[in-house]
Symmetry: C2
Subunit: 565 residues, 2 copies
């Protein structure tokens, strides 16, 4: 049974809302309250307040006690009004895709269907309704102001420099250097921005394969991912009930949701790649656009001409989408249909503001294949496709590797920037060695931190089960936290205003032996507390078991400081 009430709790935290100045909006953030520092001055305890710390919050309404949560009803539709007020979209009477209609009419799916049917919304007269389009018109939308406030983390109030004005957001979107994935049919999602001049974002992948996992579990994983800090969520399901599972996820997810529409298309064809054709793919795109998917991974850059380059590879194609389309091209002796139909695809996407994430079907799957001719040949095509998408005002992400040794990472970023005209880069890791299955969240966090520092806008998490099995909840947590570490390390290295404030507050708490404050500021307060308790005896003195009571360096430093004073 579905657990209706799902909550996200963070210790000593409460939700605050920062109001917009241009629009009537409220941006949720997490505020962590801290205890005071107590110093001994002339033998007396002198207390000094520590200001609360504001943290970028991906948990949406789940962490707001004042909002009623009911999974069977879905989240509040935050953006509904903004979208309506633009008056450039219309609510359709019925779903436009054949498949959407069939599923809705299918009585056998009644038990697993999301209980509320939201009629789909689409642009009037086929016009573009993307954030990029508005940005190019010089319009600052509520979404743009929202992300500007969200990224600032109240730095201004703390006297920190900020360049992240709504106008800056607009200009970055207009230039294609950033995107706000925001399907008009996913008004539950809180706007967030992906671009090299903003906080580094992380994507998490969930989804059942035909072998494992059910709807309940996937919804729980989605919320779980948001709890730990996932900025976007890809539903990579390949098993049964993809349509219904996705509906449940989208209605209950406060972050943008991405998919690889090809996967579902093939489910419809019983896995028969040869039968893949434009009509069924097109119907799937529309089906998902009308459900509210915010971005699609489309492997449109892998061309027939690239296939001979595979013979030099150790692990061939490791992208599922890439391998499928390569097979299709080989069997049909035709050019990639996503490439030949790319303008058609853009025509659809722009009417819902679905972003395209140009998949790298030839991403290297091992160190030996990194930065090879195939990879860069495809990247060059992705650059051409970027121009086409932008012509239609479709927002673009470029997907990147994969497995890359450290000394070859920088070149990836440089080539991507040059070839793809500054479109934001979205990489899977990269993994910096192949020899650690079971620990690929670490092999890849090393590479992800570096490439994010060099400018990658979003990094796709890898869990400890990568290459081995589907992740369970604990794997998702391990993957998300590893990637939050990589992203935050990159934010600091990039000098993002205010990124370091949390580190400083946590370290001050550590030095003060304010253990609870330290844990409450941590990426994973529960784990930190659990480990701390594992080593505690029942005393409450100012040390941990690492150094014992006599040789705690920080304790000794404090004593010495007192002595000097």
């Amino acid at each position: 049974m579905m657990k209706k009430e799902q909550r996200i709790n963070y210790p000593s935290s409460h939700k605050i809302y920062v109001k917009g100045k241009i629009h009537d909006i409220e941006v949720g953030m997490r505020q962590v309250s801290l205890t005071a520092t107590v110093n001994i001055v002339n033998g007396k305890n002198v207390s000094e307040e520590n200001p609360p710390v504001t943290i970028y919050d991906t948990s949406g309404p789940y962490s707001d006690k004042d909002i009623t949560i009911d999974i069977t009803k879905g989240l509040p539709r935050l953006r509904q009004k903004w979208i309506e007020e633009r008056r450039d979209t219309e609510c359709l009477q019925d779903f436009s895709s054949s498949f959407g209609k069939i599923r809705l009419a299918d009585k056998s799916a009644a038990d697993i269907r999301f209980p509320i049917v939201h009629k789909p919304r689409r642009a009037k007269n086929g016009q573009p309704v993307s954030q990029m389009y508005y940005a190019r018109q010089g319009i600052i939308t509520p979404e743009m102001e929202y992300v500007a406030i969200r990224e600032n983390l109240r730095n201004e109030e703390q006297g920190l420099k900020t360049m992240l004005t709504p106008e800056f957001v607009r200009s970055e979107l207009a230039a294609g250097r950033a995107i706000i994935p925001a399907n008009i049919n996913h008004p539950e999602a809180e706007p967030m921005i992906i671009g090299t001049n903003f906080l580094v974002k992380i994507n998490t992948n969930i989804g059942n394969s035909s072998l494992m996992s059910g709807i309940d579990e996937e919804v729980e994983k989605a919320i779980w991912s948001c709890k730990w800090g996932g900025d976007t969520l890809m539903d990579l399901s390949t098993g049964e009930h993809i349509h219904e599972t996705r509906e449940w996820i989208i209605r209950n997810t406060p972050v943008p949701v991405g998919t690889v529409p090809l996967y579902q298309t093939l489910e419809k064809l019983n896995g028969n790649i040869e039968d893949l054709n434009w009509e069924i793919y097109r119907d799937t795109l529309i089906e998902q656009c009308e459900q509210g998917v915010d971005y699609f991974t489309i492997h449109a850059g892998l061309l027939r001409a690239h296939l001979p380059l595979l013979k030099y590879r150790t692990t061939g194609i490791v992208s599922r989408g890439g391998s499928i389309i390569a097979n299709w091209m080989t069997k049909h002796r035709k050019e990639n249909l996503f490439y030949t139909h790319f303008e058609d695809i853009c025509e659809i996407l722009k009417q819902y503001d679905v972003a395209v994430s140009l998949g790298d079907g030839l991403r290297p799957g091992c160190i030996d294949d990194a930065n090879d001719a195939g990879q860069f040949a495809e990247l060059s095509v992705l650059g051409d496709l970027t121009r086409i998408a932008w012509k239609h005002h479709v927002q673009v992400l470029i997907e990147g590797p994969g497995h890359v040794p450290m000394h070859k990472i920088a070149v990836n970023m440089e080539e991507q920037l040059k070839t793809c005209h500054g479109a934001p880069f979205y990489t899977l890791g990269p993994l910096t060695t192949d020899i650690a299955p079971g620990y690929d969240h670490i092999t890849s966090a090393i590479g992800a931190a570096q490439i994010a520092w060099y400018g990658t806008a979003m990094i796709c998490y890898v869990t400890p089960k990568e290459h081995l099995s589907l992740p369970d909840k604990e794997d998702v947590r391990a993957g998300v936290v590893a990637y939050k570490i990589a992203a935050h390390a990159a934010d600091i290295a990039k000098g993002h205003p205010g990124a370091q404030a949390r580190d400083k507050a946590l370290s001050k708490a550590r030095f003060d032996f304010r253990w609870k404050d330290q844990f409450n500021l941590a990426l994973d307060p529960e784990k930190a507390l659990e480990y701390y308790k594992a080593g505690r005896l029942d005393d409450d003195s100012g040390h941990c078991t690492m150094c014992g009571p006599h040789f705690c360096a920080m304790k000794l430093t404090k004593e010495m400081n007192n002595c000097i004073k």
Copy 2:
């Protein structure tokens, strides 16, 4: 009760020995046997052999089935004969340190004492007996040839380029750019080399604090650390029975063992820092030299003049040794006694070939303190001390941070190289953010991989329990594997000959669906297998649960390749 028989088993692996050409030596390595690749050609199975992969092996005799292991007797004394044959040392009739004599005479320690007493060995007439000294005489010792063979991993046989000749080893040691920590009283240790032009090494820390852990557990942790790939081992015990615990560890550890002698000195003084003096520290150094400790961390570079720089810090001093000596200086208003007695220290160390690891008492303990004036002021003193140690032919390591954001890591390496005349750098991480207690093996593996790529010779592991508690066995495993990943990623990025061979063999196994070969080549075969099994149903088909049977990219690539052929 002590478990006498300890074994290290790796799947599908056996021990091989490569003979020396100059000396009568045999260097143990691990060889992983692989199964054949089976391709379908014209409808028939065609089998193609995969050569075995040779792996650098830190497990010593524990993984050799032909050697009898008995923890109560200690490991075979591999280097005994080499040391004797140099004829520059003598076996003493009794221990030279007062404490060593007292402990040996103490009947109450009989139950916990290591059963065999090896009389200590010392240089004749106070002359240097260090590997650096021999190297400077132009002598290629068995130790030097041993590490040359060990580092090569039989690359020559595989047609790979190698510069790692015994003569190259000698020249690096003579220049101080590398060290072989090899106390003449630890003949059980297999020679290994630490230097920027060699494979990156990792150190693990074990040791009880006064609060936790016993002798059995520490010996088990030591062997456990060697199993997963720890290259050296620091015993940081601060609790009871330090002397006896260390004896058990050294007699049973096939890798160099390091300590911070100050910790034990303070135990002798019941933790009273004020009572610290040269005589008791000197006695401790001699005690440990004669037990066989291979390198000492000594915080000799932190001077009184540096203390005022602390007031600019968020977390003051986080090095235990640093905080102790800072306290001592403050209380006595005297200069650091390790600094004032540094020549005396070198006089002792050179007679046993104990290397000095110059501790960084002012390493930054948070991102905010990274690369500050205090840190670099101390580094400059470490450079001066390096020259003094080298004058005595004492081998030198330089310890480094700590907590450093990514954009400040490279400067650490550059400054260290410039200031410390090329002596090998040995860093703790660095951690690239402060906000992830519970995951600091990851925050630091990110920094460690980078600094090792830039030239750091050895990285000191950090476990998930860092800042929170003492690590247990599973934490040691997690820390070692994270650091093996960082070290290996750096070896690849540095272009170390042959480093990538293991990645390529593993990836080829992955592409062939030779699952067992893939796991057997992994850093942690057991974990990989466990995760794989977690996702398996009972079939044995060529896919995992990640993609399910239909959309496995590598399976599809193979089909396509067959189709093209």
